[in-house]
Structures are given as C-alpha cells and as structure tokens.
C-alpha cells in the first residue's frame, strides 16, 4: 500500500467534511430559549436556597458555635501555657521533672 492511497483517502474525508458544512442546520429548535431559561432559573433558585439554608443554620447554631469556639480557644491557650512550662522545666531541671509536669497536661 502506498502513500498515494492514504493521501487520497484523507483528501476525500476532508472534502466530505467541508461539503457538509453549509448543509448543517443552524436554526434554534422551537422552545430552546424557554428551556434554557427554565434550567438557569433552577440554578439560580438552588444558589438562593443554599444561602438561605446557610443563613438559617448560622443563626440557629450561632450561640452554641460561639460557646464551642471560646472553649476550644481556652483549651488551646491553657495547653500551650502548660507545654511551655514543661519545656522550660525540662531545660532547667532535666528529665527528673518530666513525670511531675506531664501530669499537669490536659
């Protein structure tokens, strides 16, 4: 098989593709725009619903959330202070103080 047949096969396919170009129908089908609008309205409503639920949840759980956040921050601060004390004690007195200080850690 030579390249001549391959070139002609490719050329025939290209010619077919180009000849098909003007035959393609480009009119929008009936009801196309209303169908798109229905779909985009649904997208818009879904987005609005999400923020509505988000706002409701935020209002509903705000007091409990604030309390939980305060507790978590307090716990973190306390832990950090105790850890710093432990490290300082270890650096000053060596390993013998580790057992005592480890008991203080929450």
């Amino acid at each position: 098989m030579d390249d001549g047949r391959l070139d002609r096969l490719e050329q025939a396919l290209v010619q077919y593709a180009r000849a098909g170009k003007p035959k393609r129908q480009t009119d929008l089908p009936a009801g196309f725009t209303p169908a798109v609008l229905r779909a985009v309205r649904a997208v818009h409503e879904r987005r609005s619903d999400f923020w509505g639920v988000f706002a409701l949840a935020a209002r509903r759980f705000a007091p409990a959330g604030a309390l939980a956040a305060t507790a978590a921050c307090g716990y973190a601060q306390l832990s950090e202070r105790l850890l710093n004390q432990a490290l300082l004690a270890l650096s000053l007195h060596g390993g013998s103080s580790a057992y005592t200080l480890a008991g203080l850690l929450p």
Binding site: L6, L13, Y16, L28, F32
Partner: protein
C-alpha cells in the same frame, strides 16, 4: 443594550435578561457545536453550554466579546461530550460495515487529488470520518476539525480555544498524524 450590560443585569438578579443572550448567540453557538458533535445531539450540547455559561457568568470579564467567551465554553462542552461517550463506551469502533470497507477499497492510488468529488459525496465517507475521529482524544478531535476539516486559521482557533498558537499548531499536527496512522492501518499498512 450590549452584551456586557445584559450580563451585569443577569448578575444583579434579572435572570430573564439571560434570554437576550440566548437569542442573540444561540444560532451561532449551535452552528459551531453542530460541526463537532452529531447533528441530533447539537441542541442538547448547546443547551448545556448556555446553562454552564450562566453558572460561570460571574467569571466573565468584558475585556473580550461575550461571543468568544461563550464559544470557548461551547468547544469545551463538545470535548466533554466525546469524553463522556468514551467513558460510557458508547462509541462502537467496529461500526465500519462492508459498504464502508468497499468504499475504502475503491480509493484510487493515482487519481488527481482534486478528482475525488464522487467518492467524497458518498455517505460512507461520513461513516468513516466519524469512526476515524472517534479514535482521537476529544481535544484532538475538536482542534483537528477546526483546523484541518473547517480550514480555520490557527490564530482564530487559538483565540476560540483559549490556547496559544503554538499549542494549536502542535496539537493539530499530532492529531493529523494520528488520523493518518489510523487511516493507514485501515488501508492495510503496517
């Protein structure tokens, strides 16, 4: 009212104004999509394109025309269409019937390149073209259709796909080489 103003209105909550964009660009988008996906699925892909464009409307910057931005989304949806087909294995690669194989056999070795009109008008050429393009990666298929089949300029294709001209050139060249390999195998080449 120009497209940028309509986009602003839609983003401000006037969803109905989006109909102006659909009516204004629908026919062109559909025509472009019909070049890349089967005719009976073009409207469906165009519909998905407009919905996707609406979802991403907030990212549109009025620096380039809205039509270009929309066509870029449409071409991505076309590539996604073929990706989805490959994933679902809907493409039947053994679809070449005896008529198409006979048509391939009838390709002459020495006829002038311009004298293939009769062969190019037969429906078997379309079957083979769809089959051969189906063997390419979705992005390659889109870029090859635009550059090689439609004869669009590289710069134009680059603008529409959001690629560099060099990338279009390389992808197009590789896709064409792959297409020739596929056709070569059909002709009994090693």
């Amino acid at each position: 009212m120009n497209d940028a103003e309509i986009v602003r209105r839609v983003l401000a909550g006037d969803v109905n104004a989006y109909a102006l964009l659909v009516d204004g660009h629908g026919a062109r988008v559909l025509a472009i999509i019909a070049r890349h996906v089967p005719q009976d699925r073009a409207a469906e892909v165009a519909h998905e394109t407009f919905v996707r464009a609406f979802e991403k409307l907030g990212t549109y910057r009025a620096e380039s025309p809205f039509g270009h931005w929309l066509v870029r989304i449409a071409l991505r949806r076309c590539a996604d269409f073929w990706r989805e087909k490959i994933r679902r294995r809907e493409t039947v690669f053994s679809a070449l019937g005896p008529e198409t194989l006979d048509w391939i056999e009838s390709i002459p070795a020495e006829a002038p390149l311009g004298g293939l009109d009769d062969l190019a008008e037969q429906s078997e050429a379309g079957v083979l073209l769809d089959w051969a393009l189906g063997q390419l990666a979705p992005d390659d298929r889109v870029v090859l259709t635009m550059t090689h089949m439609d004869g669009q300029a590289l710069a134009e294709v680059a603008g529409l796909l959001g690629w560099s001209v060099a990338k279009v050139k390389v992808r197009s060249f590789r896709a064409r080489r792959k297409l020739r390999e596929i056709l070569g195998h059909l002709l009994g080449r090693p």
